[in-house]
Amino acid sequence: MVSVSGLSYKFSAAPAISFPDFTVKSGEHFLLLGESGSGKTTLLALLGGLLRNYAGSIRINDVALETLSEHRLDKFRGQNIGFIFQRNHLISALTVEQNLMMHSYLAALPLHAARMEEVLRGLGIADKRKSNISHLSQGQAQRVAIARAVINKPSIIFADEPTSALDDRHCDSVISLLIDVANKNQSTLLIATHDQRVKDRIERKIILTH
């Protein structure tokens, strides 16, 4: 569950951005819509605990993020939240498998071989597990990034513009994949996007305006 009330954030040299109050129940999927610069990425960063020192309150799974120390917040993020970025940001020095293992290691969670197998198979990249990141196609890399986001069975998945660099066909399949993966893992999916193609796929929307 994600719940926001009275949230605003101020970058040092800019006026504060205020965000609308909203609540996302667990297992629900939402779109976060708004033009470029409307604060979508900032909101995701705030929700994910990547930005601190905000005004207002953010509660995730009944934990108020502002009450956590930085170290606790890091751990909370690793164990409860999966991130998918516009670019995949895989660690190119590691293999596909190691990229996934990294998430479990950093979140201090155990990783079972069966879980690894399940996730890779579910995304159709089981045969790539030992591959180098640089040997993957764009689509495969995106699937690895999604696999990495869900490996720890996060309760919430934040996706920041996951489709903006994709053509129509890929855009559609990635959104399907995300929804599918989120459902399988019983995760809440929150997609920030200004991509018109995505709008029909998820009903519930949070719209940011200036």
């Binding site: 990547l50 930005l51 190119s92 920041d160």
Partner: protein, 416 residues
């Protein structure tokens, strides 16, 4: 998955860079290791070889030569001294023990020494086979001599004049190997011991020898203290030197002065002369050492630059790692680990290289074999080298690691 796999993967991802850093450091460490092993073993050998010898008395000349010749057996004698004079000195009350040495000949460049059993006792020598020398032309040989010159019990050989194989051969007389000593890891391993009379016999014409025997049988009521077969007033016989052990510390002040006051004799202290030798060699060692430190400095700089540059490429990696739950301190530790691991690896390779080179040296070059220098020996200083290298790595990684610590994840991720 753990931090070491991550660090290793990053190092593997840029193999050339990693290799050059490791090679640079390894070379520097190897040079230092070789110098360390060499110097320590040389120090040790010198101490062992001159153990129990406080002073060497011989003919006037270079004091360093006197020491090199009579203790380390690597240089030529400064000349001879009259046995009669040596006898007189050795009766001085400041002297605890005096051992005569008569040098001059060699076999396959192994020096033959005319002396008495106390010389062997200096090095706590023990017999491996056979007996100690007893009669003229009996010899007991050192462990290395037996192996390298292929001498066995009851073998006969003729000596050559000087220290080279090409010297004039004393064909008229043959030595007989009566005994072989156990290895002592001292200069004794490279020596052939016999009595003083044998050396004289080699260098006398047969008539001299006859006259000498005649002389001894006729008039001997008093005998030389150093070589008991000779009459005390014999004015012909000569030896090369005397090895002296003091009776009291007072002797160190008085005895050299008493000896040096005599026109034909000089006294040299092994401790003083070897210290002088080291101070001469020290300049060369310092230059090589400085070169090694420069190598290490460059490798440190190179590691710093490599980590600093890779940090730019890895900004996203680190931001993503933070998003996956890594704390700031984990990133700090991972960069420090990378630096430390790199230098530790370089240092270990360098240590192995140093030992390896010295092992090859001692296997290939006979001189190092003779000197007893080996690559298979470890000193506690090597731990210091290892610790120092680790520290260097951490130091080089410190600035990049702090930068990683300070990385603002959200701005990196937003800035894509």
């Amino acid at each position: 998955m753990n931090i070491f796999i991550l660090v290793w993967s990053y190092l593997k991802a840029r193999p050339l860079n990693t290799a050059i850093n490791i090679v640079l450091l390894a070379l520097g460490i190897a040079v230092i290791t070789i110098l360390l092993l060499f110097k320590n073993q040389l120090d040790q050998k010198i101490t062992e070889n001159s153990k129990g010898i406080d002073l060497v008395i011989g003919a006037k000349g270079s004091p360093l030569q006197l020491i090199l010749c009579n203790i380390f057996h690597v240089d030529f004698p400064t000349g001879n001294i009259k046995l009669k004079e040596a006898d007189r000195i050795s009766k001085n009350g400041l002297i605890n023990a005096a051992i005569p040495l008569a040098l001059g000949d060699s076999y396959h460049s192994y020096r033959i020494i005319g002396t008495n059993i106390r010389f062997a006792e200096l090095y706590e020598a023990q017999l491996a086979q056979g007996i100690w020398w007893k009669n003229n032309l009996d010899v007991t040989v050192g462990a290395n001599v037996a192996v390298l010159a292929k001498l066995q019990l009851n073998d006969k050989f003729t000596s050559a004049h000087g220290l080279t194989q090409e010297g004039h051969a004393h064909n008229e007389h043959q030595y007989v190997v009566k005994g072989i000593m156990r290895k002592t890891n001292t200069v004794l391993d490279n020596l052939i011991l016999t009595n003083v009379e044998s050396i004289w016999e080699m260098h006398e014409t047969s008539t001299d020898s006859m006259a000498h025997h005649h002389h001894v049988k006729d008039s001997a009521t008093l005998f030389s203290a150093l070589v008991p077969s000779v009459a005390a007033d014999d004015s012909v016989k000569e030896i090369t030197s005397l090895l002296i052990k003091y009776r009291s510390p007072m002797a160190a002040v008085q005895l050299p002065r008493i000896v040096n006051a005599q026109s034909s004799l000089q006294a040299a202290s092994p401790a003083f002369e070897t210290a002088r030798l080291f101070s001469i060699l020290g300049v060369g060692v310092d230059v090589i050492m400085a070169f090694a430190y420069v190598l290490i400095l460059i490798s440190g700089l190179s590691i710093f630059i490599a980590l600093y540059n890779s940090l730019k490429e890895r900004r996203y990696d680190m931001a993503v790692m933070r998003s996956m739950g890594a704390s700031r301190s984990k990133l700090l530790v991972s960069i420090l680990t990378e630096g430390g691991f790199l230098t530790l690896l370089g240092c270990l390779i360098g240590l192995l290289l140093g030992h390896g080179v010295l092992m090859i040296f001692s296997a290939v070059i006979e001189q190092t074999q003779k000197a007893g220098i080996t690559g298979i020996i470890f000193y506690s200083e090597e731990w210091i080298i290892l610790g120092g290298s680790l520290l260097l790595g951490l130091l080089c990684a410190l600035i990049p690691a702090v930068q990683a610590y300070r990385t603002d994840i959200s701005s990196v991720l937003a800035g894509n």
